[in-house]
């Protein structure tokens, strides 16, 4: 048994035989050519042939992995038409009297090293594409046919790095995992693994050995382990886990498109929490019924100056549009001394959790607040947006917020901007807000309980302090009673109430939450289907234990 550790890009466990994909390294020889015109013609013919191949690969990929993933072969075709790339090859043939394949090899290396040096991980992956395209040209020029291989049993593909061309040629029904020496979470291997929902490890510290071909191995995407020739004990353990995951996968897939409803007919909305637009893909993939918490502070944290109204508008608009008619609850800026942003120039504080943060900043520095509100209301006609205000402790704060909202809306209307229907809600995350929730409920359209902060403030336990972990009890009766009180006061006033903290995804509490009447649970995208599964087997008519 040998074991290597890689970076997991898709969870899950697989057992299979190893197939090493090692690149045929062609030593491209440099030759002197006299007839430059015919060498250029030879290159042009190879280029046309490569384009044809890529068209075929595109068609194949569309059928197998869908149009979005297939688009990379369209990009490869465009690379073959890129003037900088072609000029470089042409110039080398002409000025140095060298053969086409050598000119392609050198040009390919030059361009791929430009991408490999970029600071953006995503762009670095484009180096692989340039190499892939260049290798295709070289293979045609030296008349080399890459060997096709047939996979007959569950196979773990092991390689230094996989190019799009290689991945699309694989028989997807037989591949159960990928392990690569290089690559990142944005590499083609990772994207394909996520598409196929199979475990994959990248950046695995190992030296590839041809002798591994055909060996039995286990890939564990949960721990990042790649285990060669596992012991019987390890193999049995893995087999049990594979079966369990398979069962779970089938079950969760079946839950997509189904309602989140208990056996006795109680419905609950299961929404998702997100930090940026790029999370929305996962929201849709996991079939969440809306977005219950869009943490807008990430727009501020990711910027080095105040994000403009237009920038924010574009982001909110896109979120609303992508979600269609589904509700998107956007929380206004929630930063403070614990989530620092340089350009806010906030002072260092002794106790940032109880400091100058969130709505307190917004009501003090109104220009920041108004910019965000204008962006939100402008975006509101493009979908179903709701706005939620964090860290509320008093009725006066809500009154002040509402008077600012009225002014912002009037101003936008006078400027001819169309405004959609927008629900206004507040976070219930301070004990103060809980105690006056009967008064607050008369002022807003919904409550969302932020259990992380509410627990910290109620128990007077700093969650960052590891010494207190042993007394930190997220199921503390004090917190659960507070949640119940908030729900009662919300329903008395006819407004809905959700939970957007970590407790929302706690399956041990789901039944209790539904019994007290929680209307919505907003959780990380990966928990949506598990939560729905839990909801669908509950029967609230059964007597309490």
């Amino acid at each position: 048994m040998e074991k290597y550790i890689g970076k997991s890009v898709y969870k899950g466990i697989s057992i299979g035989k190893i197939k090493i994909l090692k690149k045929e390294v062609h030593n491209v020889e440099r030759r002197h050519v006299e007839d430059i015109a015919s060498e250029k013609k030879r290159f042009e013919e190879a280029r046309q042939k490569a384009t044809l191949q890529l068209k075929e690969l595109y068609e194949k990929a569309v059928k197998e992995v869908g149009e979005t993933s297939a688009a990379i072969f369209d990009i490869h075709q465009m690379m073959l038409e890129d003037m900088d790339y072609l000029d470089s090859i042409d110039n080398m043939i002409e000025s140095q009297n060298i053969n086409a394949e050598y000119a392609v090899a050198v040009t390919g290396d030059n361009f791929s090293s430009i991408f490999a040096a970029m600071d953006d991980e995503y762009m670095r992956e484009r180096a692989v594409d340039v190499k892939d395209v260049s290798e295709r040209l070289i293979n045609i020029l030296v008349n080399f046919n890459s060997q096709e291989f047939v996979l007959e049993e569950p196979t773990i593909i092991v390689a230094d790095e996989l190019t799009p061309s290689e991945t699309v040629q694989l028989d997807k029904n037989k591949v159960v995992a990928f392990v690569t020496v290089h690559g990142s979470i944005n590499s083609h291997t990772a994207i394909l693994a996520r598409m196929m929902s199979i475990p994959a490890l990248v950046n695995t510290q190992m030296d590839l050995k041809y002798e591994w071909n055909g060996l039995l191995a286990v890939v564990d995407g949960n721990t990042g382990e790649f285990i060669l020739e596992p012991t019987n004990e390890k193999l049995e353990e893995a087999t049990v886990q594979v079966e369990k995951e398979l069962e779970q996968k089938v079950l969760l897939e079946e839950l997509k498109g189904k309602e989140s409803i208990t056996l006795d007919g109680t419905k609950v909305k299961i929404f998702s929490n997100i930090g940026s637009l790029s999370d929305i893909g996962n929201v849709l993939k996991n079939d969440a019924e809306g977005i219950g918490l869009f943490r807008s502070e990430f727009i501020y944290l990711g910027s080095d100056s105040y994000p403009t109204e237009e920038e924010q508008f574009q982001i909110y608009k896109k979120a609303a549009e992508i979600m269609g008619g589904k509700q998107v609850v956007i929380r206004t800026l929630d930063i403070g001394a614990d989530k620092q942003v340089d350009y806010f120039n906030l002072d260092k504080e002794e106790n940032p959790a109880m400091g100058y943060r969130a709505i307190r900043i917004c009501l003090d520095r109104k220009e920041i607040f108004i910019t965000q509100l204008r962006a939100l209301f402008r975006a509101s006609s493009f979908g179903n947006i709701a706005i939620m205000f964090p860290m509320i402790i008093s009725v006066e704060e809500v009154d002040e917020i509402k008077s600012i909202v009225v002014k912002v809306k009037e101003e936008l209307k006078s400027q001819g901007v169309k405004i959609g229907k927008v629900e206004l809600g507040i976070m219930i995350e301070t004990p103060a807000a809980v105690m006056i929730s009967d008064l607050l409920a008369q002022k807003v359209d919904f409550f969302s309980i932020g259990t992380n902060d509410l627990t910290q403030y109620t128990l007077a336990i700093d969650r960052q302090n590891q010494k207190l972990d042993n007394i930190y009890n997220p199921h503390h009766q004090a917190v659960l009673r507070m949640i119940e009180l908030v729900v009662q006061n919300a329903h008395k006033n006819g407004i809905w109430v959700g939970i957007c903290g970590e407790l929302g995804a706690d399956l041990e509490l789901t039944e209790q939450f539904l019994r007290i009447g929680i209307d919505e649970l907003s959780v990380a995208p990966v928990f949506v289907l598990k939560l729905r599964e839990k909801v669908r087997v509950l029967n609230l008519k059964d007597s309490k234990e």
Binding site: M78, E81, M83, Y85, M118, Y122, M123, D129, S303, K318
Partner: protein
């Protein structure tokens, strides 16, 4: 000469697929179309150069269009950016 500024909202920036779309959109015009970010420029009709510019989400890019069809190109390209980038 016509100019417009645009802030990218596409989450992964002008990477492969959006870059390909932008090159195709720009290539229908006779005008020269350049993109500038942080003092560096690239020809929008040249895919590799455009990708190598590495324009990311939330970053501002300036488009400069010059030629016989610049009036229509500036309007259509800005609309294209809003729609796709």
């Amino acid at each position: 000469m016509k100019k417009f500024e645009y802030i990218i909202t596409e989450p992964v920036g002008i990477h492969a697929r959006p870059a390909g779309m932008l090159v195709k959109a720009a290539s229908v015009y006779k005008s020269s179309i350049m993109i500038e970010k942080d003092g560096k420029t690239a020809d929008v009709k040249r895919l590799m150069a455009l990708m190598a510019l590495g324009v990311k989400c939330d970053e501002k890019a300036t488009f400069t269009i010059e030629g016989t069809d610049e009036d229509i190109a500036v309007v259509e390209l800005e609309a294209f950016c809003k729609e796709n980038l």
